[in-house]
Symmetry: C2
């Protein structure tokens, strides 16, 4: 699509060039996909981009093409099959389908329910298995690497050990970066922002494509094994969403894996529901926290929520929990190589005392404040670093791989080099664990120390991240780590976490954040050891909570995940207090890290609330022309021209004399339905209104169903003779005759709320006064984007943009 | 209001006469309260009632007056104070307040946030304390009663014992019924349906009035102590909601307990948020299940949900958990009389084996099926019994008390008489507890048996309900209960649970349902003892889950509550499976019990989805006249007449020549704002449009705020001279100029979704074609009620009404 002509927005930098390239492919792939062009807003887009580049780079979206949602808003299938109403798309109210749905209902509802639960079950099963497989692979690869290095160190061949360690890391890192850069650039990063945007209605195909799934799974395994300071939790969420999408869109047509019953899920809403389940399953698999997974999906991922969804996500996460439990039990018998206790962080703090006094509370408040400040700073710095990285990543796959390799070398040097700074400590006499640790993981790493001694810093650095977290959280080990070790570790992890996120490897933020938070929590705990009765392990947990609250701004889900990890409800009030404080403080500085990345990637995410400046505008203010409308019975040539020269996805249909007495709005037709209709070639010689039924008899109900992502018809696929171009086609049968409308004088804030609450794709603006054409314009998601509005009205207070929502 | 003139709907029976009387008081109390009359639908209401009585009693709402929502939809306060957008009410877009909010913002936002968290904290604290107090009182009163009876029985004075036991029960029951019948009839029953309806937008004052709170607390204590088969869980939810409402509406003006900072909460949305927190706190206090409480509020109570709410409810429930924990620790030392282990059901099944085989799974599926069938049957029978009771309760307070006393005597006879049917069992040698139990509660009740023996049936009947549940759930006691005992207990509890619910006592359904479910679960477990490895206590838990799923149709919240009670996550998949099956089966028969009661009480609850038949109608079909509109500058006399003769709460304002060139819709004014404006008496001699600002200067922003429930201005309070009646008033300043509108040809289903998703009170219907008046009518909640639509269109398939939502 870029090939057509140079466009002004090419001047904008891209965060990930291949990412946007990938999006291009998708938008060329079908009218139903994520076409960036907007109905009635082509002119506005240009204006927006001009003003954008005039305003300096900070406000520019980094992806060249915003992947605006432009998919079908008419789900004929959903409407026929079951009495589930649209949240997101609209129901065709035409007669043919009205007669249809009653007779079909019983059988179809049965198929629908069976299929729904089967899919949900499958999502749980597959995500659980993938989650386990991920852990198994990481533990074995990283374990082998660490064993090899340890062996060399025992022989005092320190340089060889370093080269072996660094070499392994480098190879793994390059492999991860290579598959990510060449196969699926969309798989880089956490994936949570993208999934969040998808569930908000931003329908970009590549986000959940099969290739993304593949790279996400293997890239994550390689990345984590490579010793980077990154986690597999975010990628697991993305993996779960990809699995759900793949299952929901009916397998793959290419491999003949489709199922006829799956046709019911060919609509936005059901697909989004499944992906929400996938997200929950991902969290459940990553943390073994079924309830936490549900709450994560509810709090962070989903934009529209219903009780039914609660139940389904919960079922999925329960399946995940069962699968994981079964597989881990299987591995207990030692059949899984180096799996050991499993890489799933799991620690039991229930033995610690959970009574607390006033000094403890002050310490906890202090932790909250620290978490808020560090969290806000982390988000700020991450934003800056991602902007620098985007310049590097833009240069192509080799640059990406090079960047990844550089970071890998730095990480290896830190994790191998820094432990040398720590002095050897004699093993405690009353150690509950083996000291020094023989083998792979453990609290007391020998490293360079003589027998009977351990290196505290190596226990943290020279370990998998999961083991490091477990060590930090361990209780009854007050004196294990020197203060200096903890300080060094904190600074290193904080910086490495920042520089690692933007590289071309699937990388979660949970683990670095938990690591850094737990470290400063332990520092505070150790400093206050004399005053407080609480265990430093407990302080580490609270520190992790505070930093999670400060960066991600999630609350309940983080709280429940931590509680499920620690298996102790007694901690609830303390964790909540810390989260509340850190989130409140950090909210004064900037947005949550995921929201920030969504904005930076230029994904047009719609908040549930309208921004304050929208109150000063009306719907008519932001509508921008030229508007293309069709007549109720339109000449085929006109339609084809309109489809070819614009990228609009919705066209108002207006009946004009002689079809009606006065110009009258019939409804809205969308591109994908027009293409199906045109393909059927039911054209007429005369401009007359038909009953419509003979046209629709040609089509089955599922012809108009939403195609699998990126798979619909394209205008380029259709060929017409000159004779056909001169004929007419009746658009009444496929028009959505009940589009949602607002009067042009409606407050923009209220229009935005309507648009968001009902999950619309197009909102028609009608004139307030008579004697004018019956339609003023169409509002799409794009028209509510702050940058667009600011482009139109530069006088509006700019610091109102990106205002954070207040008061939690 | 009934006194005005006899109305057709008086023919309808009332479920609770005093209940509706109470609603009358409230609706007379202020225009902002729950006035039953509807804008533009007076005629329709008559039609509806006629058709209703013509259709036989089954479809009739049992409350004479539906407490339709008619409160303010314009929350000036919310709009000024903070950038929180309306879900439910609409923002006034006029100039005065636009200038205002920027300058005020900082300080007000601070006050708002501080106050919000203070309120949430207070709700948690108070609900926790009330919950504990409730338990303490019940345990002491019921404990004394049981001790007294046991003493008499030990002396073999069985008849005296019965009279003492029955007498105590009777006195307690009468007291409960008396305060309920005379002080607050709205406090009878569970309260969950009413709170659910309130959170859906049905704004009936008495539901959450202080008197209701008082009766709910003490009535519940007396009722539970009286040995009825009812629980305190539902009432606790209602109590939490009442506490939240009382705090949110700014204390009580009467007792000078108001706080200036509380004025920010004088809008629908914040009040509803607080009440959602109250609900969650109630569940948390009843079951000591903080996460379960949040999920209950999310799944069952709230109609609109946001992430911010999640966090606030969670904070509330955490506070409740802390308060309860502290108070129970305090009581451990024995300072709380007979409190003992506390009446909060709590049992630990974690010692049981949680591995299961195929026969176990079959048994669990069987339990699910049984639960579904029994649950559906329970709901069906409860519906019938409530209809019979409504005839009795209608006759006045004495009838109510008499009915309660009858049920009390029957209950006493059952719980004292039926244990005599059971044979005495020798105490097991390896009993983990004292046998027979000396004192109040325990597994092995001595009853009439000789020393060294116990009466299994008495352990269930002759105990508090909480102790009976604990006994049923106890593990390692496979042979404690004879099969015959369990059968007798199940039948008795099932029937008593049914006949108890409708009496004039605060009565929860959780406990009877858990009791009955646990009993048949234990029966199944005992029957399958030879095949299955699972403990009968575990089966009892699963039985309780299946029956809860079958009656209440809650899923995740029940699941999490049970898990939090048993403190064992291993049970998760089993509980989910059972719930899934029982809910699916029972959904084929009827609605959940709370939904059923909502329908029966005639509360116009709006489902999130539209009913299928609504697709066949358009918005214009259900709009009914006569419509009263005002001119932009209207004669005072006309306004006063309209306010006096109708009960409408929203009036469209139309500018006509000479004020505009053609008739043009200005917006919507609501009754409460009109009354404030009229009270200000800013009238003009001439019919001219003003700038509006001088009018609004007279008023503070909070003059238009939503008053405390049932406290607003009334038209009867205002007096006008004849001269004033002839003057004009400019309605432009107070008109909501951005009302949500739909075109008359909009599908009714989609209009309903719009109405529900945005939480509207009025939806304007505009004409499709020009050359007609700019407004066709107003849709209110009432116009979407199935009975109303069916009254207008009897040809629509009636069995489509009350269709259950499909597929969970």
């Amino acid at each position: 699509m870029d090939g057509h002509s140079p466009r002004p927005q090419q001047r904008l930098r891209t965060l990930e060039r291949e990412g946007s390239h990938n999006l291009d492919i998708e938008s060329m792939d079908g009218g139903g996909g994520g076409d960036w062009r907007q109905n009635g807003s082509a002119a506005a887009l240009l204006r927006y981009d001009d003003s954008g580049s005039g305003r300096g780079s900070v406000r520019e979206p980094l992806l060249r093409k915003r992947t605006l949602n432009t998919t079908s808003q008419i789900a004929i299938v959903g409407a026929n099959v079951c009495p589930i109403e649209s949240l997101d798309y609209e129901v065709v109210e035409n007669n043919l389908f009205k007669q249809d749905w009653r007779s079909r209902k019983k059988k179809q509802i049965f198929q629908y329910i069976v299929m729904k639960w089967t899919l949900v079950l499958l999502i749980g099963l597959l995500t659980g298995i993938v989650g386990f497989f991920n852990n198994l692979a990481v533990e074995n690869i990283a374990g082998l690497k660490l064993l090899l290095t340890s062996d060399l160190m025992l022989k005092q061949r320190y340089f060889t050990a370093f080269f072996a360690y660094g070499g392994c890391n480098l190879v793994l890192a390059s492999a991860a970066a290579a598959i990510c850069a060449y196969i699926a650039p969309a798989a880089a990063g956490s994936g949570i922002p993208e999934v969040k945007a998808y569930l908000n209605g931003v329908d970009a195909y590549s986000i959940l494509a099969p290739s993304t799934l593949f790279v996400k799974i293997f890239g994550s395994i390689l990345g984590v094994s490579a010793g980077f300071v990154l986690g597999k939790e975010g990628p697991m969420v993305h993996t779960g969403a990809c699995i759900a999408n793949l299952l929901g869109q009916g397998g793959s047509r290419k491999y003949h894996l489709t199922c006829n019953w799956l046709r019911y899920f060919k609509n936005d809403r059901d697909r989004r529901d499944l992906i929400t389940c996938g997200c929950a399953a991902g969290v459940a698999a990553a943390f073994r926290a079924p309830v936490g997974g549900v709450l994560f999906a509810l709090e962070e991922a989903a934009s529209w929520w219903r009780s039914a969804l609660l139940w389904r996500t919960f079922f999925t996460t329960a399946v995940v929990a069962v699968v994981l439990k079964g597989l881990i039990e299987f591995c207990r018998s030692g059949k899984c190589g180096l799996f050991g206790q499993g890489g799933l962080i799991m620690f039991d703090l229930s033995s610690t005392v959970a009574t607390y006094s006033t000094p403890d509370l002050i310490a906890i408040i202090l932790l909250g404040v620290i978490g808020g400040i560090f969290g806000g700073l982390f988000n700020f710095l991450l934003d800056k670093i991602l902007r620098v990285y985007s310049i590097i990543n833009e240069r192509g796959a080799p640059s990406k791989i090079l960047l990844t390799m550089t970071i890998s070398v730095i990480t290896s040097m830190c994790s191998y080099g820094l432990p040398w700074l720590a002095a050897c400590t004699p093993c405690p006499v009353d150690a509950m664990e083996q000291c020094p640790t023989i083998g792979r993981s453990g609290n007391y790493k020998n490293f360079q120390c003589p027998p009977g001694h351990y290196n505290g810093l190596a226990s943290l650095f020279f370990n998998t991240n999961d083991d490091a977290i477990r060590n930090l959280f361990s209780n009854g080990t007050e004196t294990e780590f020197h203060m200096s070790s903890l300080f060094i570790f904190f600074i290193a992890i904080y910086c490495l976490g920042l520089v690692t996120y933007g590289i071309a490897v699937p990388s979660g933020l949970f683990i670095p954040v938990i690591l850094a938070g737990a470290t400063y929590g332990r520092i505070v705990g150790t400093l206050l050891g004399s005053i407080s009765d609480l265990d430093p392990g407990l302080f580490a947990l609270l520190g992790a909570a505070s930093f999670l609250g400060g960066t991600m701004r999630m609350t309940v889900s983080v709280c429940v995940i931590l509680l499920e990890l620690t298996n102790d409800l007694q901690m609830l009030p303390l964790v909540m207090l810390v989260l509340l404080i850190s989130k409140t403080i950090a909210d004064n500085f900037n947005k949550g890290v995921y929201d920030q990345i969504v904005v930076m990637k230029g994904l047009p995410y719609m908040e549930a609330h309208a921004e304050p400046y929208m109150r000063h505008l009306v719907a008519g203010d932001v509508v921008s022309g030229p508007l293309i409308t069709f007549s109720g019975v339109e000449k085929v040539g006109n339609i084809i021209t309109a489809l070819r020269i614009t990228g609009h996805n919705g066209f108002p249909v207006v009946d004009e004399p002689p079809l009606a007495e006065a110009p009258e709005l019939v409804g809205l037709v969308i591109r994908s339905h027009l293409l199906v209709l045109l393909k059927g070639k039911m054209f007429m010689k005369e401009r007359v209104k038909t009953s419509g039924s003979f046209i629709l008899e040609r089509f089955g109900a599922f012809d108009f169903a939403k195609p699998g992502s990126g798979k619909g018809l394209k205008i380029e696929d259709l060929n017409f003779t000159d004779e056909e171009m001169e004929m007419y086609v009746d658009l009444h049968p496929i028009a959505n005759t009940s589009p949602y409308t607002v009067v042009e004088t409606m407050s923009l804030a209220k229009a935005a709320i309507l648009f968001r609450a009902l999950g619309l794709r197009h909102l028609l603006v009608v004139p307030k006064t008579p004697d004018r054409p019956p339609i003023v314009g169409i509002l799409t998601r794009h028209d509510f984007v702050p940058e667009h509005i600011h482009g139109l009205f530069p006088s509006l207070n700019p610091h109102k943009f990106h205002s954070t929502s207040m008061g939690g």
